[in-house]
Amino acid sequence: MALYAALVYLPGSEYWTDRPEEVHQPSDGYEEFYAKVSAAGAYKGGEALSPPEMATTITVSGGQGGDVIVTDGPYAEAKEVLGGYFLLEAADLDEATKWASQIPAAWSGGKVELRPVIPMQK
């Protein structure tokens, strides 16, 4: 079995309300997907992310321990923004694709990117 991060990209305009202080309600279909994927034992984690406006990007210049450069905003400016992720366990890419195709963003204007997770050395 392998771990995949299913990165959920959403159209920026639909991603968040203008008032981030409002409590965000999960969009249609996500609870249903969560129920299905956890019942199958393939759910290994995942969260929704605050909008890119809330993001902070960190770079360290001059090698490890060097100057920490903190910039406001996301790393990549794009029409679609990373809205959240699921960690999914699957036997292979085809199985992971079956799960990813059930995440609502995949058919409602967004996209789901599958990235194999590299296990941490313990």
Partner: protein, 415 residues
């Protein structure tokens, strides 16, 4: 294929692909399997000319490649980072040929391995150009240098592209399996398009060294035949093989001799066509039609188009109304300016130059295509608009990508 050394290389290449498929399954790594098969192929090239070709070349290559694979694993196990990987591998036994021979499966298992390898190399998670390159490397057994030449890129670039494709297969776990029946309609088109691209897109430069030049059309036909054998009765596979054969049958007439200039279909000497091959293609297409449950797919439709030409007594005696009707169907299943261009040319024969010009001018996005300008020149010429025709032909000559095509157009200019 009279040169014995070339025949030997061909045997190694074809048998090597099926050995690669089997080793990929037993070792679970395409990269390792490829390295092992390459070393085995080099050993065969060294020893077979001296000791003679073994009775069962595939068995020889399988045994040798398997031992090479274990050698590679042993070498890599020395490096600490690879220890975990190597310990996952089957235990190393005594390297007796007898033991290795027990790996030899019946033909059905070999076929399954090949089919798995085909679907892995043509997986939609790989970029289309990576699928074609990887298929040429693993399924056709061509070396990186030959593939790089076919794509017109430096060898290093092609080597990197292949490494990246194999890395993606390993890291993303692109499965080494044949898709379930329910998924086949989604997965088969990617496989068929790779075979089609090998036939149509991979061209050796005309100045290439004759001895090492690879016949991509022949490779594509070999792969299409293999697919027909592995998945019997699939209408689109039958359609694709028929299409490739119709086209290949015209080969003796497609270029002038001497000179090797391209000859347009309308000017080809039809007695030079391979009529036995046309008969075979027709019967394959007939089988495809019988087995189709619903609408014909794009390769079947293109095969029908090709059949119309291949069975017509002459350019003028071609059933142009049927060809236009087939293009109408093809436009519905494959969007693409090239299909519209061919439909317009057929319309020129079925209804006249006026209809052709209207259709041509209705196609967007072909302003950089020499074929579009050449077709416009043809229509304008037939309508008696000589100056406009000459201008269109000049543009076509400027845009033509190869010297033979430029010369062909220049000859038309002179007429």
């Amino acid at each position: 294929m009279t040169d014995p050394s070339q025949e030997l290389a061909e045997t190694i290449r074809v048998a090597g692909a099926s050995v690669l498929a089997t080793l990929t399954r037993t070792f679970g790594s395409l990269q390792l399997a490829e390295d092992a098969v390459q070393e085995a192929a080099l050993a065969a090239l060294r020893t077979w000319p001296v000791n003679g070709v073994p009775n069962d070349p595939r068995a020889w290559l399988l045994v040798t490649a398997r031992n090479k694979a274990y050698d590679i694993l042993r070498r890599e196990a020395v490096r600490p980072a690879k220890e975990a990987f190597a310990s996952d591998q089957p235990k190393l036994g005594p390297d007796t040929a007898q033991e290795a021979l027990s790996m030899l499966e019946p033909d059905s298992a070999v076929r399954d391995d090949m089919l798995r390898l085909i679907f892995t190399c043509c997986h939609p998670a790989l970029a289309p150009e990576a699928r074609v390159a990887l298929s040429l490397r693993t399924l056709a057994g061509l070396d990186v240098e030959a593939i790089a030449r076919a794509f017109g890129v430096p060898e290093q670039t092609m080597a990197k592209r292949l490494v990246r494709a194999r890395q993606k297969i390993a890291t993303a776990r692109i499965p080494y399996k044949v898709p379930a029946d329910a998924e086949l309609p989604e997965r088969l088109p990617a496989v068929l398009s790779v075979v089609y691209l090998i036939a149509t897109e991979a061209h050796s430069p005309s100045s290439g060294d004759v001895v090492t030049r690879i016949d991509y059309e022949r490779e594509a036909i070999r792969l299409a035949r293999l697919l027909c054998e592995l998945m019997p009765g699939e209408p689109e596979i039958l359609g694709l093989l028929a299409l490739l054969l119709f086209s290949f049958a015209r080969r003796p007439a497609r270029t002038s001799s001497p000179g090797g200039e391209p000859v347009l279909l309308r000017d080809q000497d039809r007695s030079k066509w391979d009529h036995a091959m046309i008969t075979e293609a027709s019967s394959l297409l007939g089988e495809a039609v019988r087995r189709s449950s619903s609408v014909a797919g794009p390769y079947q439709l293109q095969a029908h188009l090709s059949a119309c030409h291949s069975t017509a007594p002459s350019w003028a005696g071609t059933d142009w109304a049927r060809i236009v009707a087939l293009y109408e169907l093809l436009v519905k299943v494959t969007a693409g300016a090239a299909v519209l261009l061919n439909r317009a040319i057929a319309l020129g024969e079925a209804e006249g130059a006026g209809a052709m010009l209207t259709a041509l001018d209705g196609i967007a996005g072909l302003e950089r295509s020499h074929l579009w300008h050449a077709a416009r020149a043809d229509a304008l010429g037939r309508l008696g608009r000589g100056e406009e025709a000459a201008a269109a032909l000049r543009t076509a000559i400027d845009l033509a990508p190869t010297a033979p095509e430029r010369r062909l157009l220049a000859r038309r200019m002179a007429q």
